[in-house]
């Protein structure tokens, strides 16, 4: 009995101390939670507010026709095939086509272009495509047609050359 009594007192005291500590912890957490209510939210209310965007963001590619020498190097290096040149069958003039939906903004075309400033990467982000754009079908057709137009033009030219060789007078 003499042993147990002080022991139990000690235990009760310890329990009280622990309870106090818990209560302090609980109060602390409580005030922290109340405090959090008045803090600024960590999230951004997009699209009402803009998200972070660096000023040298990799965005859409801009083409300057006046500088182009029509070497088609950009078409060759572009990994996803977002640039293609079609050719007019009568006068051989090339037209640049670019799909902002296929482009991955990798900058390979800009690095490869021999004419500085002809292709530049703007900071404008690409826009999401919608169903109306029908991106794949439209672009794939344009791509295939452009390649075909070049083949046709080359064949036509060859034929003309051959004809010119056959009767040099005309």
């Amino acid at each position: 009995m003499q042993v147990y009594l002080p022991l139990s007192v000690l235990m009760i005291r310890a329990c009280h101390a622990l309870q106090d500590k818990f209560q302090i912890e609980i109060m602390k957490t409580f005030f922290k939670t109340i405090g959090n209510l008045f803090k600024k939210p960590a999230t951004i209310p997009f699209p009402a507010a803009p998200t972070y965007k660096p000023d040298d963001y990799r965005g859409l590619i801009v083409f300057d026709e006046s500088l182009c020498i029509w070497c088609r190097r950009c078409e060759t290096v572009c990994p996803p095939g977002a640039i293609v040149f079609s050719q007019n069958i009568t006068d051989g003039k090339q037209t640049y086509h670019y799909s902002p939906y296929v482009c991955i903004y990798c900058q390979e075309c800009v690095r490869t272009c021999p004419k500085q400033g002809c292709l530049i990467q703007s900071a404008e982000p690409g826009h999401p495509a919608t169903k109306e754009h029908d991106v794949n079908n439209v672009w794939n057709k344009l791509f295939a047609d452009s390649l075909e137009s070049r083949v046709t033009y080359a064949a036509e030219k060859k034929k003309q050359q051959a004809a010119a060789k056959a009767n040099p007078q005309s």
Binding site: K53, P54, P79, C106
Partner: protein
Amino acid sequence: MSTQYNIPVGAQHISLLEPLHFKFTTENEKIIKTEANVGYVHRGIEQACCSKFKFRQVSFVVGRVCGLCSISHTTCYSQVAEKLLKLDIPKRAKYLRMLVIELDRIHSHLLCLSHVAENSGFEALFMKTMRHREFSMELLEAVCGNRIQYDFSIIGGVARDLRTDVAQSILDKFKIFRPQLDELVDIYKTNWSLSLKNKGIGVLSKEDAIRLNVVGPFARASGLGVDVRNETEELLPWKEVGFEIITDTAGDVHARNMVRLKEIYVSMKIIENIINGLPEGDLISDTKAFPEGEAVNRIEAPRGELFYYAKGNKTQVLERLKIKAPTFSNIPAMVETFTNNEYASVPAIIGSYDPCLSCTSR
């Protein structure tokens, strides 16, 4: 013998980030056997790299193997291609590659930690970690111009330079982040309710780690000091920028958390050293050569050793490209580690593996 139950988890499951299938055989609540199936996201990237794309374009294709460690894939491929081209890259490019790899490691480790917290049922910690992670995404966007698919390493060097104001903003943001990280370490280390789901759970011993050939933080938490950054200085001078290896001994989920958290400190130190000692010079060295012969290359991705094999035949298109992702090496250990754990611990254990299936099955 008590009744055994088979419980399938995945391929689509709330605690899984990516399609991964496990079949657990349980007795009461205890797992006694596990089977795994990982081939749900096969996209045929290797074949595409050897047929449709030219070797210079491949570095952009492999960057899309994984959304989290995109830079590890592009750098590893660029290095293997540089070996085939016998091309030496400028020192500045090497430093910038290391910088982005380490920034990437910070965001990837924080993502993994947040998912361990979420899968352990600690939603508030998940949000807190994700909130503190945001700065690393912004820094990556400022350095690379892209938020996710960085396209930063290209064959011969890097695509963009580090602007001085961006470098300064990295150092400034680290000053804000360091106390936040200290707070996170404190929570992950001492939180009692989290420890119930993490301490002593999913233990992998060092012997098993060696036997099962584990890589990455998974291995280092078991005391197995494997880290490519520690082994080779051949292509990227890791020791020069202050790399040190982090290991733990417990091998449980808690130890994996601790290894990842401590590695974030190391990554921050490396980045600070890189910015303070960035050598001047070109960003890219060019060559007109074509890839020839065979080469292998290894790099330490956030999840462990990433391995590339390439074979060129002096044409624009590679003959063979083989990718071995870190998660692939860890699958045998992943399957074994579940044994003798409670079924309820499965989500936390899966989170702590940090599996990346889109890397694994490509």
